[in-house]
Structures are given as structure tokens and as C-alpha cells.
């Protein structure tokens, strides 16, 4: 209870500041943060699956990509309204997630990781092969966008992140989250205690897929275009994972902090040109090696687990 109280004490003021930001900050920074918030949802979804269910999903961008492209294709070819596209995108990601998870959850550790990685590669290949329909490497432009106003876009992203983050965080602190955590740490003992490990992990996967897909769909409507490089590429998935580990795994909030940090750092270091990715990777590596709890690990788990 103390811990929940402290978390709220840290999070609420930050949210108030974020909500007031458009009053004092230019469109450029708002645009950057908007992107960061969508990434934050990707990372938080990933953290639910890894941090709690203990499954290393190397293919977050499979779920993101399915959601993004399902929404983008519907909007591009049939001009469905945006809310409907978003809903279908999220549902499509869940279905794809179930199709991937039901067989894949029989596997553990590196095998599960590889299958999720292969799913991304296959999706990428399919999108490029059917370039006539999907736009391939160049991308698919969308007739509709969320908004052309930077402030409105910023609030859409912020509200979306807060709601998703709230649900994911709540879940992770709920009994379901505890069962997930137990299954992740010792699946045999958890099932011996009578919990259906497979069912809980599948639920976690579906929830993770839902938010990843929805956020991917929102992202393409923010950018106005869906392309392999922005929502499917392995580099996207790598960033999501790095953000979650950097911010502190098993904290959900840390994942969001890590994602915004990564996007921001990439932009601040842009003058370095090609070296910027190098520096970001180096910083992330140093944090992981010397502060394995990540940014938020310290703040949220101050009493320590050991």
C-alpha cells in the first residue's frame, strides 16, 4: 500500500506537468513527445509480457505491425472511419497474437524468442512481397489523419498513454499480475498451486497484443503513413525492448520513461549524425550493466527484492 502511494506521488505531478506542456512548449517538442508516448505504450505492453509473465517476446513489432497495417489498409482502400480502423487494428493484433501465442507458449526461453522474431521477419517479407497492395518499403499513405494540430495530437497520445498505462499498471498490481509473476518465476510451482499458467500467460499475451496493436494503429494515423520502417522493422522491436529494460523491467511505468527517454535522446543527439545511435546504445548498455534495475527500479522498489 505504501508503495502504491509513493508511485502515485511520483507519477501524478509528472502527469500534471505533461498535461500543461503545450502551454509553454513548441510544436517540435510536442511532436517528439507524441511519438514517444506511442512508443511508451509499446514498451509498457512488452513489459507486461516479459516483466510479469517472464516471456521474452523478440517480436513486439509483429503485434504493432499487424495492428498498424490492418488499420492502414482499411483506411486506404475502403476509407473506413478512423475509430473503426483503430478497433479493427487492435482486434487484428489480438487475433495475430493468439495465433502466435497458442503454439508458441508451449516453447520456453530462446525458442519462444526465436519464434516471435521469425514472426516479425515473415510479416516484413509478406509486406514487401505484396508491395502492390501494402506499399512495400515506401509505405502506405492514409487519407485520414488523427489531427493536423500538434496540440490535439499531443493530447490524443497523452490521454491514450495514460489510460493504457493505467490499465496495464493496474493489471500488473492486481492478483492476476501476481499470478503472472509467479508463473514467470517458477511455472511448475505456480501450476502446482492450482493456477492455470498457460491461460494466464495467454491472457497476458492478448492484453499486450491489444495495446501494441492499438498503439501501432494510432501511430500510423498520427504519422499519416504506414511503412515497414516505422512499425514492423526489427529495429522498432529492439527499441521497444531496450526502452523497457532501460526504464526498469517489471515496473510498467519505467518502460514508458525509457521509451520517452530513447526517443528524446535520439533526437537530441541528432547533430552527431550516424554516431547518435552509437551513443544511445552505449548509454543504454552502461545503465543496464551498472543499474540493472533501470531508471525506475530504484524509485519504485527502493526496499529491494533481495
Amino acid at each position: 500500500m505504501m508503495q502504491r502511494y509513493r508511485t502515485a506521488l511520483i507519477v501524478l505531478p509528472v502527469l500534471v506537468i505533461l498535461a500543461l506542456l503545450p502551454l509553454g512548449v513548441g510544436g517540435y517538442i510536442l511532436g517528439l513527445l507524441t511519438l514517444g508516448y506511442y512508443y511508451a505504450v509499446f514498451s509498457m505492453s512488452w513489459d507486461l509480457l516479459f516483466g510479469f509473465a517472464g516471456e521474452v517476446n523478440f517480436g513486439p513489432s509483429f503485434l504493432i505491425g499487424v495492428g498498424a497495417y490492418a488499420a492502414a489498409l482499411l483506411n486506404h482502400y475502403w476509407e473506413w472511419p478512423i475509430p473503426l480502423c483503430l478497433a479493427v487494428g487492435a482486434v487484428a493484433a489480438v487475433l495475430a497474437g493468439v495465433a502466435l501465442a497458442v503454439p508458441a507458449l508451449r516453447l520456453t526461453g530462446p525458442y519462444f524468442g526465436l519464434v516471435t522474431l521469425v514472426a516479425v521477419l515473415l510479416l516484413q517479407n509478406v509486406l514487401v512481397l505484396f508491395a502492390g497492395v501494402t506499399g512495400g518499403e515506401i509505405g502506405l499513405d492514409l487519407p485520414d489523419v488523427l489531427s493536423i494540430d500538434a496540440n490535439t495530437n499531443y493530447y490524443y497520445a497523452l490521454v491514450f498513454m495514460v489510460i493504457s498505462g493505467g490499465i496495464l499498471f493496474g493489471l500488473s498490481r492486481s492478483p492476476v499480475g501476481l499470478i503472472l509473476q509467479a508463473s514467470g518465476q517458477d511455472a511448475i510451482e505456480a501450476s502446482a498451486l492450482g493456477f492455470n499458467v498457460a491461460k494466464h500467460k495467454l491472457t497476458a499475451f492478448c492484453i499486450s497484443a491489444f495495446f501494441s496493436g492499438l498503439s501501432g494503429a494510432m501511430l500510423v494515423f498520427y504519422l499519416g503513413t504506414a511503412s515497414v520502417g516505422t512499425v514492423v522493422d526489427i529495429a522498432v522491436g529492439v527499441n521497444v525492448i531496450i526502452a523497457a529494460v532501460l526504464g526498469g523491467r517489471r515496473t510498467i511505468i519505467g518502460a514508458a520513461v525509457g521509451a520517452v527517454f530513447l526517443i528524446g535522446a535520439g533526437e537530441i543527439l541528432r547533430p552527431l549524425g550516424q554516431l547518435s545511435t552509437f551513443v544511445v546504445a552505449a548509454v543504454a548498455l552502461v545503465v543496464i550493466l551498472f543499474f540493472p534495475g533501470g531508471f525506475m527500479g530504484r524509485l519504485l522498489h527502493a526496499e529491494g527484492r533481495e
Partner: protein
């Protein structure tokens, strides 16, 4: 004619895959580490070999040696600076060490890749082959370099086999992969064995990288794909099983070559990915893996 061409090209590329994957699976088998900077280390070897040979005009042999040395150095840093501290760390719970090793070797790979791209640009580079010329094999004009690639790959794998099975040091490697605790009880220093494995790995990855650079050319953008292909081959063959990896390398090499020649080069990796998913579902431990 086409069949022969596929047979020969497929053999060369498969041998190279086999060599690349052997080091990767060795590390996993002995120390349980999946090194996701594998592709980047191969790229470093190829690019350094290219750079030394071109910039100092040393000829291909010295260049190749420099490439292998660079790879050895990278492997050593990977172990000393990244893998070892994580394995020894008390702040990281045991069940999470795997994800930490994966994430940090991934980051290290990205650093290597970006450093290469920054210093030498990301344009593809072709290492000058050790021997030039063409030789007809059963009527197919084959570059001598392709023959050499296959021969050197197999020579390196053969030497590794001898080392592991015929020498005392090699046998201690084997023992470490089976029962590390038992080995320490017998008075062997595990950390020295790990250093040795990483050194062997560095040399193997270096040779594979240089040969790849001479055979197909290498760009820093390939690093991720090289890691992914080594990872797939190793899982297909069974994690930690060297002979499984060798077979898997040939399955993958031939499947890719056949797809490229008979269907279209643009989908050359797709059948492999599908096969991989199928095998992992039916037989998660891979072709020859033990659990």
C-alpha cells in the same frame, strides 16, 4: 546444369553458414550465452580485413589476419566487459540473467555496427579474395575463391573437432557444457574455460566474417540479419549441438540457394523461416538437440 550450379553454390554458402553458426552454438553449449552481437563481430572482421588490405596495401593475407585478430579482440571484450559482469552480478536475479545477456549483447552489436558505419560508411565492401581465378567443376565455371571458402570453412570446423575431441583442453570444454559444477569440483577453473571458448569463438567468427566478405561482400547493415541467420541455424539444429548446426546450415544454405535460383531471389529467406517455425513447433529441441 542449373542443378549442378545450385549444388556447388549451395555447398559453398552452406559451409560458410556452418562455420558462422559453429562458434555461436559453441558459446551457447558451453556457457549458455546467446551472443546477439555475433553478426556485428563478423562484419567487424570483414571490414577490418578489407580496410587493412586496401589502405595499407598489405595484400589479402595480412588483411585477413588483421580481420580475424579484430574479431578475436571483439569477442574478448564481449566476454570481459559484458557477459562476465552480468554473470557475476548479484543485483540481477538468476532467472533474468538471460534477458540481460541478450539485451546487452544486442546493444553491443548495435554499437559495433554503428561504429563500423561511422568509420567506414555502410557501403558494401568486398574483401579481395585470397586467390583469384576460375576453375571448371563438372562444367560449371566456379570462382576459385568459392572453392577456397568451402575448403577453409571445413578446415576450421575440422580443427575445432580435433581440438574438442582429441585434446585435454578440448575435453574440458566438452565437460563444461555437460556439467560445469562437476568440472569445478575436479579443480578446473571455469572462468579460464570460458575465456578459451570465447577465444575460439572469436577466431571462428573472424574467419567466417572474412570469408563472407570475400565471397558475397559485407555491409554494416547486414549485422542484424547475420545474427538472425546464425540464431535460426542453431535453433534448427538444436541449441548447443555442433553437429546439428552443421546439418541445419546445409538445410538452410541449400533451401535458400534453391529458392533464389528456382523461384525468386527476393523471397530467398521465406521458406527457411517457415521451415524454422514448423520445426520449432513440432520439435522444439531442434533436429539434434538434447534438452
Amino acid at each position: 546444369m542449373l542443378a549442378l550450379q545450385i549444388l556447388i553454390d549451395g555447398f559453398a554458402i552452406s559451409s560458410l553458414y556452418a562455420l558462422g553458426a559453429t562458434g555461436f552454438t559453441l558459446i551457447f553449449g558451453v556457457s549458455g550465452v546467446l551472443n546477439l552481437s555475433h553478426g556485428a563481430i563478423m562484419v567487424v572482421a570483414a571490414v577490418i580485413a578489407w580496410w587493412v588490405a586496401e589502405a595499407f596495401n598489405t595484400g589479402p593475407y595480412l588483411g585477413a589476419m588483421a580481420g580475424v585478430l579484430a574479431s578475436l579482440a571483439c569477442a574478448f571484450v564481449t566476454y570481459r566487459v559484458i557477459v562476465r559482469p552480468i554473470q557475476d552480478s548479484r543485483a540481477i536475479p538468476r532467472e533474468e540473467k538471460e534477458i540481460f545477456v541478450l539485451t546487452s549483447t544486442l546493444l553491443w552489436g548495435i554499437m559495433l555496427q554503428e561504429a563500423i558505419a561511422y568509420l567506414f560508411t555502410s557501403n558494401p565492401k568486398t574483401v579481395r579474395p585470397l586467390i583469384e581465378g576460375v576453375v571448371p567443376i563438372l562444367g560449371v565455371r566456379t570462382p576459385l575463391n568459392e572453392v577456397l571458402t568451402a575448403a577453409l570453412s571445413w578446415a576450421a570446423i575440422g580443427l575445432l573437432y580435433l581440438l574438442v575431441n582429441r585434446t585435454r583442453t578440448g575435453k574440458s570444454l566438452l565437460a563444461a557444457s555437460m556439467n560445469p559444477r562437476g568440472l569445478t569440483l575436479l579443480g578446473f577453473e571455469l572462468s579460464r574455460i570460458y575465456v578459451l571458448v570465447w577465444a575460439i569463438y572469436g577466431v571462428l567468427a573472424g574467419i567466417a566474417g572474412v570469408l563472407l566478405g570475400a565471397f558475397l561482400g559485407v555491409s554494416s547493415d547486414n549485422a542484424g540479419l547475420l545474427t538472425a541467420s546464425a540464431f535460426s541455424i542453431v535453433v534448427l539444429g538444436g541449441l548447443g549441438s555442433v553437429s546439428g548446426s552443421l546439418i541445419a546450415a546445409y538445410v538452410v544454405g541449400y533451401l535458400e540457394t534453391m529458392t533464389a535460383y528456382l523461384v525468386s531471389p527476393s523471397i530467398r529467406t521465406v521458406p527457411v523461416l517457415l521451415l524454422l517455425v514448423a520445426v520449432v513447433y513440432v520439435r522444439p529441441q531442434g533436429l539434434l538437440g538434447r534438452r
